[in-house]
Symmetry: C2
Subunit: 197 residues, 2 copies
């Protein structure tokens, strides 16, 4: 069996796990249920993952890699103003989560147990992501379009916080709006604040 094929099966298991975990939670999902949905025997799971926990870690890694790669393309890609880059980052975040509700559920809900399970791992990846946002804020300060006294990392966390809450709200709400439709309002608020001019 080629590496290609192996990667495919590994991916299938991860896909099955995303589906099950989004519906029943990490602790509510049995390895047997993941195997069954992937159409393989329980034992086979352990040929691809050392443990159930490693499956969760892998889901996180796979998704986070995508977030970071795409964000980096915006930040380090072809030159553009900071405001434009910020708008694209916001839009990216909401689009990626908005197009896969199961993944969004896992991100917004299941990964929050992470302080115990994935602490180091998850926060280091998120720090990487936050750093990309902070880089854009820094650029904005140098261009003079963002306030001089704003701390880039603090601003990045604020941006992330708002995006995170919008995503959680979307995940938990029954309404059928598109998550990415919140992109504009989020940016407007971030850029200009609540105060009347």
């Amino acid at each position: 069996m080629t590496t290609q094929r192996k990667e495919t099966k590994r991916g299938q298991i991860l896909d099955a796990a995303v589906l099950e975990i989004a519906r029943h939670g990490y602790y509510g999902t049995t390895v047997a249920a993941i195997a069954s949905r992937a159409g393989i025997a329980d034992g086979t799971v352990y040929l691809y993952f050392k443990s159930k926990e490693e499956i969760l870690v892998s889901i996180f890694e796979r998704a986070m890699q995508r977030f970071i790669d795409e964000a980096r393309r915006i930040v380090d890609g072809k030159p553009a103003g900071a405001e434009s880059k910020l708008r694209r980052l916001v839009s990216l975040h909401l689009s990626l989560l908005g197009q896969d509700r199961d993944l969004a559920v896992i991100f917004q809900v299941e990964f929050r147990h992470t302080i115990h399970v994935l602490e180091l791992l998850s926060r280091s990846r998120i720090r990487e992501y936050l750093a990309l946002m902070a880089q854009v804020v820094e650029q904005g300060k140098q261009e003079g379009v963002f306030k001089a006294d704003v701390e880039p990392l603090f601003a990045a966390k604020s941006v992330f916080g708002i995006l995170d809450e919008m995503a959680t709200d979307w995940v938990l709400s029954k309404k059928n709006i598109r998550l990415s439709s919140r992109s504009g309002p989020v940016c407007d608020l971030l850029l200009d604040g609540l105060s009347a001019s």
Copy 2:
């Protein structure tokens, strides 16, 4: 045994549970550990709570009640400008979490399983809290100090999102800053945004 006394013991169990769950997570905490820390027998826990899950629910209820009561005092209390009320709400949120790290851990991490365990319960309480924030935004719009085109509930969620991220960041970081020291910068960003005037 008086009701008073009963409430005390119930509270002791909850206190013990907060401590254990903050350290080991909900699924990593055994009922035996909670009982042991509370200095009672395992079975006694079940005289006060129907199940382990009910303990988690009760921790949430008890804490959330405090948040809502204090927020309501700010919002409906003696008249003040919207900006001032908003600053006090932000400060309240960060202070309440900042003065009890164990409770903060549970709020920022453990309650996120809530989509499956506490979905209805927790979100309805949080909606109540969000509604109080939204009320202040609405007031600001009428006073003309906040932008006319901002949606109050959307703004409230944004405020909550930033506060939430600051709290999570604080909980996961080893640094020994006071959480409430973030209160000023958070308000400034919310009110005036990132853009240079």
